[in-house]
């Protein structure tokens, strides 16, 4: 199979895009590590890091990363019902409930975090 086997069908391209979102998840993790490190180094380093975060290239990178990580999360939660099959008697709990519970938990945790970070 050729190395670009996935360019011929949209469903394959979507799959590769989904897998590539892992790069942007790693990007966020690395940025967070540098963020924490700058706090440990001192106030000047911290201010410099915040200045970088505000720079146009950083904003652009974060914009792309946000879209990719959202795509990552949405596709992940939508696939959750495939791995989790819960049966009540002969009936199976519908997929949208399993996926919905994941999205709801995401919303709740995001809300709580936003309240903690913004209210302080």
């Amino acid at each position: 199979m050729p190395i670009f086997w996935w360019v011929h069908k949209w469903i394959h391209m979507r799959f590769i895009l989904r897998e590539l979102t892992s790069v942007f998840v790693a990007f966020y993790a690395v940025v967070l590590l540098f963020h924490v490190r700058s706090v440990a180094v001192g106030p000047e380093a911290y201010a410099a890091f915040l200045a970088w975060l505000r720079s146009p290239p950083a904003l652009a990178l974060h914009g792309v990363a946000l879209v990719m990580v959202l795509f990552h999360s949405v596709t992940w939660f939508n696939l959750a019902p495939k791995a989790l099959v819960v049966r009540v008697g002969e009936q199976r709990i519908p997929g949208w409930i399993i996926a919905g519970m994941n999205f709801a938990a995401w919303g709740v945790f995001s809300g709580v975090l936003a309240w903690i970070l913004l209210a302080a």
């Binding site: 199979m1 696939l79 495939k82 049966r87």
Partner: protein, 247 residues
């Protein structure tokens, strides 16, 4: 009014004549109730008797007539000519399998993998006949019934990019059939199958592209079977590490 026709471009490979495969075009009647298999039978009966292909039940239960039609793996007995209007329709042998001749592929790899997962009821001890049957409620049947619908047509192997890239991958149907027995309350072979499935060539090669379930003509959902077994396999691994003496 003259009968409408449609062109089929069929993959030909006859090793005794030429090692290089080629496409041959045939014009067949475009009948509303005809499927691709009808067109192939028409070609073999009326135009070119040298064409080789597999088929049997012509109604989607035997799994013999799987081929690539315009790049998609389908059962040719279930693909209507009308759906491919105006054509031409490209018919090729099932992807990711060696070609024996024309549209006939060699399926030994799948047969070996199917056998490897032990697709039969495994008991520690057989119940004596005098004690009667193994009982199963409708709910217990519902647990595995979906996975029992597999007709071994191998469309899922043709659709799976991982199988195309790594032929050692055990594949969607084999795992779905292993699950058919794992989830059967009469079976006690989970431990034996765990060793076979929880390997690099087993479930862990799967990256959940999901195309196997999309092309499955019997709605077996092998992708779901595999992801469920990833949970089972992971749980079993953690249990073996945290509770090595057993539960």
């Amino acid at each position: 009014m003259a009968q409408e026709t449609i062109t089929l471009e069929v993959f030909r490979y006859r090793p005794e004549e030429a090692f290089v495969p080629a496409f041959q075009s045939y014009e067949v009647p475009l009948r509303k109730d005809w499927v691709i298999l009808d067109a192939l039978n028409y070609i073999k009966d009326e135009i070119d008797g040298t064409l080789s292909y597999r088929w049997s039940c012509r109604m989607g239960v035997c799994g013999s007539c799987g081929m690539m039609v315009n790049g998609d793996p389908v059962l040719t007995c279930a693909a209507f000519l009308e759906a491919y209007r105006p054509g031409p329709i490209r018919v090729e042998p099932l992807a990711h399998f060696p070609v024996v001749r024309d549209l006939v592929i060699e399926m030994n790899d799948f047969m070996e993998k199917l056998n490897r997962v032990k697709p039969w009821i495994i008991r520690e001890e057989e119940k004596p006949v005098a004690e009667g049957e193994y009982l199963q409620t409708p709910a217990e049947l519902a647990d595995y019934k979906q996975y029992s619908m597999c007709i071994n047509c191998m469309l899922c192997y043709a659709a799976c990019p991982v199988y195309g890239l790594e032929p050692s991958f055990i594949g969607p149907a084999a795992i779905a059939l292993a699950q058919r027995y794992n989830l059967d309350n009469r079976d006690q072979g989970n431990g034996e199958r765990l060793e076979i499935l929880s390997t690099d060539d087993g479930i862990w090669q799967c990256t959940f592209v999901g195309e196997c379930s999309t092309v499955c003509p019997k709605s077996v959902d092998p992708a779901g079977a595999i992801q469920r077994y990833k949970v089972t396999g992971t749980t079993a691994w953690w249990t073996s590490k945290l509770l090595p003496w057993g539960t």
